[in-house]
Structure formats: structure tokens, C-alpha cells
């Protein structure tokens, strides 16, 4: 019986920065705010990360419930299995996104009970007022999950926001098509505002939206500058911590709290660099987390890397920002907030195109790896293939192959498990593979 399963005990991951150690309570408070909003009958939106609507929902006082975050919490607490099994009993394949399965299993169970499932992690996932999906290349669950959730909550409206970005092609430059991409996204954002106004009975505060858009730009720049500090040798902060500090990036964008957090982190990293204080006392190997979401139930593996003298000064995962001032256009001149958001989106996703054009046979994703490899003085690349996720994980093997072809052969390790489903994970096997990888790095260094 799924109801009887208890979560396994887990050890808390050791963080390198004080800022990262504050994230747990921040997330708990964030989940608590949603609970409180429910009590106060405020509008609550099931939301996805990377969907452009952060500032829009905040400007309208809609409280986001980040569904991927909640599934990740269940995974990190090693208490997702009962929700996954519930989804499976509903005829959802276990090969689908386990964030979605966890959320759908939870929703099905909550709707059946009429209350939260017993001992729900951090109080549970509330019944929302609305669900905000998106259609984009990032992943199908972004437009399928909430549609499927309506099977259990047919009265909850969904808005699906079209958010394409230009692909990297050989025979045309993205600048040739970017105008119609932006035009479409703006139309979709306008549709979103209308939808929100209809379902909240409240009008958009455009001035406030402008302020939040500006705050977001400022926060993106600050995050970029802060993460660039990690180039230092020894590196003051690793990917393990970045899997905490992603919280303000993807769940709190458009808030003063996110900006203040990165100001604190920035100061802390500068201080550590001044003190020559690295993530580990004796830094031997500098690694790039080159792709894949982490196994949330096994973040302790980052500490295991650390125990071998290996640190991760940089990662591609959840670094969902670039410095706005590095774009090939002056975004400050785009004063309409919806247009501004649309241009920021398109410029972010096409940011690496020009570099790729300069190296025959290359690709933007590979150029990003090369740039990080050089800037952060990297010795090896680690990736994680989560079996249930076809957003970040397809193409990792190919990227490594292409990297070798257009650049050089870099020691690499592809770990395999999942984001939420702990049954896919074998700690002994994972650590044996890390050991072998460290041996390879050592051999290359000699």
C-alpha cells in the first residue's frame, strides 16, 4: 500500500557557502506562503520555472506554487515514491517526467481524499486557482502536465503560453527570424495578462510590472557577476551549492528577496576569494557540471566529489541567466514590459549562436561548454542523465562527442539515475564510477 510507505532517512548535504545554507528555510517559507495564501483565499497559480511569467504573476499578486520545486522537495526528502506509484496506478507511465508524475500522483490523491495526503512533505501541494503551462522546446510536460491534471481538477483553468526560441540552423541566422518570434511571444503574454485579469478580477498594474522587469534585469546581471567570481582558484563555491542558489534564480525572480540574496552571496564569495578559501581545503580537480538536472535525493554525491578534492566551479544547469549588458541589443531601450520580457527570452536562448558560427562544425551548447572549460580552468566534465526527463538530457552524449571533434578530448563522466525516482539510483555504483573518474583525472594530470 502506497499510504504505508515511509521516507528513508537522509543526510543533509554540507554547503560551502553560508548563503546556500539559508536556502532550505527560504524554500520552506516559500511553501508556507502558498499555504497561507490558500487560507487567505489569494489566487494561487501552479507554475513552471523558465516560463517568462515571473514578473507578470508577481505584479498581479498571484502566488506561484512551483510544481517542479514541490516534486523536487518530495525527492530530496526521499518521499516521492508513494506519489509516483499513485500516478502509475492512474495509468501514467513510469517513463514520463517524474516531477510531473509526483505532482499528478499527489493531486489525484488529494482530490480523492478532499484533503492533503497523510504526512505530506512541508504541508503539501495546495489546490490552485489556475495552472500556467507553456509550449516551448524545453519540454512537453510544460504543456501536458496541467492538461493531465485537469482530469482531477476539471474546474481549474489552464493558460498555455507559447514561448518558442529560434533554433540554431546552418542556412540562416536567428536575427532573420527573431522579430516574428518576439511578436508571437508578446501576443501570448498579452493573452496571459487577459487570462489572469479574467480569473482574478484584477487589472494588471503596468507600472509595477515595469519595475519588476527592471529588477529582474538587475538581478540577472548580479547573478552573472556573482557566478563569474567562482572562476577563482581555489573556487569558493561549487555546483552542489548552486543547486541551492538556483532557488532565487528560478523561483524568486522579480522579487527584491532574490536580488538581496545574490548581493549577500556576492559579498560572501568576494570575502572567501580574498581569504583564499576554497570549497575544499585542497582543491585538486576542477569540474564542469555540463548538463542534466541533479538527482535531488543524492545531492550528497557533491560532497563525495569534494572528499576527493574535486570541485565544480561552474555548471550549465539552472544557470538560466546571462548578463543583460552582454546581449547584442540594448534591452534598456525596450520600454514595453511584455516586449522586454520577450526580447530577453529570445536573446537568452540565442546567446551562444554567434560563438558557434565562428568554429566550423560547432554548436551553441558545445560552445558554452568550451567557454566555461576555458574560463573556469576545468579538468573534466560531469553530466547526469535522468531517465525520466527529455528536456535537458537528450543530446548529452552527442555534445561530448562533438566537443571532442571540434575542440579536444576532455575527461568526462555521465552519471545515470533520475531527478525524483530513487529506485533508479545505486549509491555504491555511482560512487565507484566517481572513483574511477577521479583516477582518470589523476592520470591525465600526471
Amino acid at each position: 500500500m502506497t499510504e504505508e510507505k515511509k521516507p528513508e532517512e537522509r543526510k543533509k548535504r554540507r554547503t560551502a557557502t553560508e548563503a546556500a545554507s539559508r536556502i532550505g528555510p527560504m524554500v520552506k517559507a516559500m511553501v508556507g506562503e502558498v499555504m497561507q495564501a490558500k487560507e487567505e483565499k489569494k489566487p494561487i497559480a501552479y507554475s513552471f520555472i523558465c516560463c517568462c511569467y515571473d514578473e507578470i504573476i508577481r505584479a498581479m499578486d498571484i502566488v506561484p506554487h512551483w510544481v517542479e520545486n514541490y516534486a523536487g522537495i518530495c525527492g530530496a526528502k526521499r518521499d516521492a515514491q508513494r506519489f509516483l506509484e499513485r500516478a502509475e496506478a492512474e495509468n501514467f507511465s513510469r517513463s514520463l517526467c517524474t516531477y510531473a508524475l509526483c505532482g499528478l500522483g499527489f493531486d489525484a490523491w488529494r482530490e480523492e481524499l478532499g484533503e492533503m495526503p497523510p504526512e505530506s512533505p512541508w504541508g503539501g501541494q495546495v489546490r490552485p486557482t489556475m495552472m500556467l503551462g507553456s509550449g516551448q522546446m524545453l519540454c512537453d510536460p510544460r504543456n501536458k502536465w496541467f492538461q493531465a491534471a485537469q482530469h482531477y481538477m476539471p474546474d481549474i483553468p489552464v493558460y498555455d503560453l507559447g514561448l518558442p526560441w529560434p533554433p540554431y540552423e546552418s542556412d540562416y541566422d536567428y536575427r532573420q527570424v527573431q522579430d516574428y518570434y518576439v511578436k508571437y511571444i508578446v501576443e501570448e503574454l498579452k493573452g496571459l495578462v487577459q487570462f489572469l485579469e479574467k480569473h482574478t478580477g484584477k487589472k494588471m498594474d503596468w507600472e509595477r510590472l515595469n519595475q519588476l522587469v527592471e529588477l529582474t534585469d538587475k538581478t540577472w546581471n548580479l547573478i552573472w557577476e556573482t557566478y563569474e567570481l567562482r572562476r577563482a582558484v581555489p573556487s569558493p563555491m561549487g555546483t552542489g551549492d548552486a543547486m541551492n542558489t538556483m532557488v532565487p534564480i528560478v523561483f524568486m525572480m522579480g522579487t527584491q528577496q532574490a536580488y538581496d540574496f545574490f548581493q549577500d552571496l556576492n559579498k560572501e564569495l568576494k570575502q572567501k576569494i580574498a581569504n583564499k578559501e576554497g570549497e575544499v581545503p585542497d582543491e585538486k580537480y576542477r569540474l564542469l557540471w555540463g548538463g542534466g538536472l541533479p538527482a535531488w535525493f543524492a545531492l550528497g554525491d557533491f560532497n563525495y566529489f569534494n572528499s576527493k578534492g574535486a570541485v565544480f566551479p561552474v555548471e550549465t544547469t539552472y544557470r538560466m541567466i546571462e548578463a543583460i549588458y552582454n546581449f547584442d541589443m540594448d534591452l534598456t531601450k525596450v520600454t514595453d514590459p511584455l516586449e522586454h520580457i520577450a526580447w530577453r527570452w529570445v536573446k537568452f536562448w540565442t546567446y551562444w549562436h554567434d560563438r558557434a558560427r565562428k568554429r566550423p562544425g560547432s554548436h551553441p551548447d558545445v560552445e558554452r561548454l568550451i567557454k566555461y572549460f576555458e574560463d573556469y580552468k576545468i579538468d573534466g566534465i560531469v553530466m547526469h542523465e535522468a531517465f525520466s526527463c527529455r528536456s535537458w538530457h537528450p543530446g548529452l552524449i552527442w555534445q561530448l562527442n562533438l566537443l571532442k571533434k571540434v575542440y579536444r578530448d576532455i575527461p568526462s563522466l555521465v552519471l545515470e539515475s533520475d531527478i525524483v525516482d530513487i529506485s533508479s539510483y545505486n549509491e555504491a555504483d555511482t560512487r565507484a564510477r566517481i572513483d574511477a573518474f577521479i583516477d582518470t583525472l589523476e592520470a591525465v594530470k600526471r
Binding site: D155, G162, Y168, R390, P394, I397
Partner: protein, 388 residues
């Protein structure tokens, strides 16, 4: 049997099915350029109008996936992996280009793998939106215009409106032939078996449209002329799923004492039953048809009205087919790692069951190795239908 009749109708379909790609190979030998594509969302009309031969890439359930694993993760839909595996093993060595639509994650997120690994002279990604609202339709037309311009560049000549209109006319004729063929399934017993029909549609995917029309016409004449097929079977089955490009599964059902008389599959009803409207700008008609008229799980249909109406909008065509083709039971046949359909299983299942038709949900791996297990499930389902 004289050679002429052996190459017509069902015999021709059998030939092109068994030696999939033989016609494209032959045309390549004659100097034609062949553009391969994945999925039903690539407007083959544009490829034809450019003077190229469109060729739908398929997998092979009989061939274990081996080479693909060196470049493509095993978390990808096994059908897509099989297609890629076949390409790497040289089955589609005649291709000059590749067009990949933004269909599902497994197709969309592997475009670069296909592009960089095969390294064909031409490649293009059709970035179709998910939504079907007016803004999405306008965007899709722009996306198709970009495709048209890109393919024109490769062809070294403009793709004229006139050539597009002519291609649209031909593809609509092709679809009309398929609709005519489907009418022959309504009889009891059906005049054409599910296995035969599947073979014909798969063969058609590999042919230039004019030859497909000819083959379909011959098949219709032959089927009508032969005066029915075998004896009555106790159950009439509809199969719903993504792309079924092999007869193995359909044959399995029919070998288990049932007829497959209807489907919502590719190739099948999903992609053949709707035509392109004739519009002043031919790209407008194409955008409308490919975005709004193909009812696939990958496309997000905005909710209008209440939830029941929403389900009717999304799945009503399945319900109508069940009625029109006197279906006794539905097999929901979904591949592992299929995001567009995997998420729809509870809704489709409950929608159809609410109308009184039993549903068997099967998850499969696109491999003959699972046939034994599937047979047991199918037989049990048919027994259940028989006992009702």
C-alpha cells in the same frame, strides 16, 4: 502472375512495404534529390513543390537498436531511436536532406543529433508552436515561410505559389483516396484487413505523391473487386497511439480473432482524414491544416467551454470513429517515453469508457521482443469483449 499486376495494388504495397525506401533509392539513381522527414507535421507539399522527393523515415521493430546508442540516449522514444538507428545503419543512405518538426521532445530534442551525425547537405527544423490560437497560427505560418525560403535556397530556385497549389491538390487527392479506403473498413466483415491497410499506408509514406495516389486507386479497385475477405471475426477493434509504422502489432490483433477496423494513428486516420483548404496564400492553408486539423497529443488545444466540451474537442473524433466503424473495443497502444500520449492515457481511457466502449491500455517498447507479452494481454481483452 504477370509482372504488371504484381506491381499494382496490394502487391505493390507489399513490395514497397517490405523493401521500404526502394522507390526513393530508384529515384535517387535517376538523379532526383530525396528529402527525409520525421512525423506527420512536415508539410510534404512544400518538399514536392520544390521538386524534391519527400520520404518519411520509419523504424524497424525487427532490428535491435545498437548503433543509435552511441549518440542518442536510451531515454528517447524507442521509435525515434529505431529511426535513427536505421539511418546510421545505412537504410536511408539515399537521403539528401532531413526535415524535423517540433513534434514531441523525443523528436525535437534530438534534431541536432540527427543533423550533426548524418551531416546531410540539407537540414531544417520546423519550429511549430504548441498552441492553436490565432497568434500561434500566424506564428506557424511564419515558421513555414522560413522553411519554404530555406528549401528554396537549397533547391536554387523559388518555390512558386503555383507549384505549391499543385502539390496541395495532389496531397488532397491522396488523402481523399485514403478516406475512400477507410470507408471499406465499415463493412462487416471489413473489405480490407487492418494488416493490409497498414501496409498500404506505410508503403505510401515512401512514395512520391502521384505514385501513392495511383497505388491507392489500384488498391481500392482491387479490394472492391475481390468481393470481401475472410469470415466474420467476433470483435472490431480500434487502435489509438502515436506512430505505428509496422504491421506486427496490427497483425497480432487480427491473428487473435479480431479485425482492426479503425484507428487514430500515424500513418492513419490522424494524418489522412483532414485536407488542406485552398487559400489565396497556399502557406495559410498549410499552416491551418498542420497546426489545427491534425489532432495529435503534441498540440495544445485551448479550452473552450466546460471540461466535457473540452474533452469532446480533443477526443470527439475518436468517439465518432468508434460509432461510424462499429468498434467493439479500443486498444490504446503507447510507446514508453512518449510524452504527448503518455500524459493523455487517463483522459482518453475514461472518455472512451464513459461512452461504453472498453479500452485496453498497453505500453510497449517498439520491439518484436515484447510480442508474446502483448499477445497475452490482447487475447485476454478480446475474451473480455466476447463475454460482454
Amino acid at each position: 502472375m504477370p509482372q504488371e499486376s504484381a506491381d499494382k495494388g496490394l502487391a505493390a504495397a507489399d513490395k514497397y512495404y517490405r523493401d521500404y525506401g526502394s522507390k526513393a533509392r530508384e529515384l535517387k539513381g535517376q538523379g532526383r534529390k530525396i528529402i527525409g522527414y520525421l512525423c506527420a507535421f512536415v508539410p510534404a507539399e512544400v518538399i514536392t513543390a520544390a521538386g524534391f522527393v519527400p520520404f518519411r523515415i520509419k523504424g524497424d521493430v525487427n532490428e535491435p537498436i545498437t548503433k543509435a546508442d552511441t549518440e542518442m540516449e536510451t531515454i528517447i522514444c524507442p521509435l525515434v531511436r529505431s529511426c535513427f538507428d536505421m539511418a546510421l545503419k545505412g537504410s536511408y543512405e539515399f537521403l539528401d536532406g532531413l526535415v524535423v518538426p517540433h513534434a514531441c521532445d523525443s523528436i525535437c530534442r534530438t534534431y541536432d543529433i540527427w543533423k550533426y551525425t548524418l551531416n546531410l547537405p540539407y537540414s531544417h527544423f520546423i519550429n511549430m508552436p504548441h498552441g492553436t490560437d490565432d497568434a500561434s497560427l500566424d506564428f506557424h505560418q511564419e515558421v513555414l515561410n522560413t522553411f519554404r525560403a530555406s528549401l528554396s535556397k537549397f533547391a536554387g530556385k523559388e518555390i512558386s505559389d503555383q507549384a505549391l497549389a499543385q502539390a496541395i491538390k495532389l496531397y488532397n487527392q491522396n488523402r481523399a483516396k485514403v478516406r475512400e479506403l477507410y470507408e471499406l473498413r465499415k463493412a462487416s466483415p471489413p473489405l480490407i484487413s487492418g494488416e493490409e491497410l497498414t501496409k498500404v499506408l506505410i508503403a505510401a509514406m515512401s512514395l512520391p505523391v502521384a505514385e501513392s495516389i495511383e497505388m491507392l486507386g489500384d488498391v481500392i479497385a482491387e479490394v472492391k473487386g475481390r468481393g470481401g475477405i475472410a469470415a466474420q471475426k467476433p470483435a472490431r477493434i480500434m487502435v489509438i497511439g502515436a506512430q505505428v509504422d509496422d504491421i506486427a502489432f496490427i497483425k497480432l490483433i487480427e491473428d487473435s480473432d479480431a479485425w482492426v477496423v479503425a484507428d487514430d494513428l500515424c500513418p492513419g486516420a490522424r494524418e489522412f482524414l483532414s485536407s488542406v483548404d485552398v487559400t489565396a496564400d497556399p502557406m495559410a492553408g498549410l499552416a491551418e491544416r498542420y497546426l489545427r486539423k491534425i489532432k495529435c497529443g503534441r498540440t495544445y488545444r485551448e479550452m473552450k467551454g466546460n471540461y466535457e466540451e473540452y474533452l469532446e474537442d480533443r477526443f470527439g473524433h475518436m468517439g465518432r470513429m468508434i460509432d461510424d466503424f462499429a468498434v467493439d473495443g479500443v486498444v490504446l497502444y503507447i510507446y514508453k517515453y512518449c510524452d504527448p500520449y503518455g500524459f493523455e492515457v487517463p483522459q482518453i481511457k475514461s472518455y472512451i469508457e464513459a461512452k461504453g466502449t472498453p479500452v485496453l491500455y498497453l505500453e510497449d517498447e517498439y520491439s518484436m521482443s515484447t510480442i508474446g507479452r502483448l499477445r497475452t494481454r490482447i487475447q485476454a481483452f478480446l475474451e473480455l469483449l466476447g463475454s460482454k
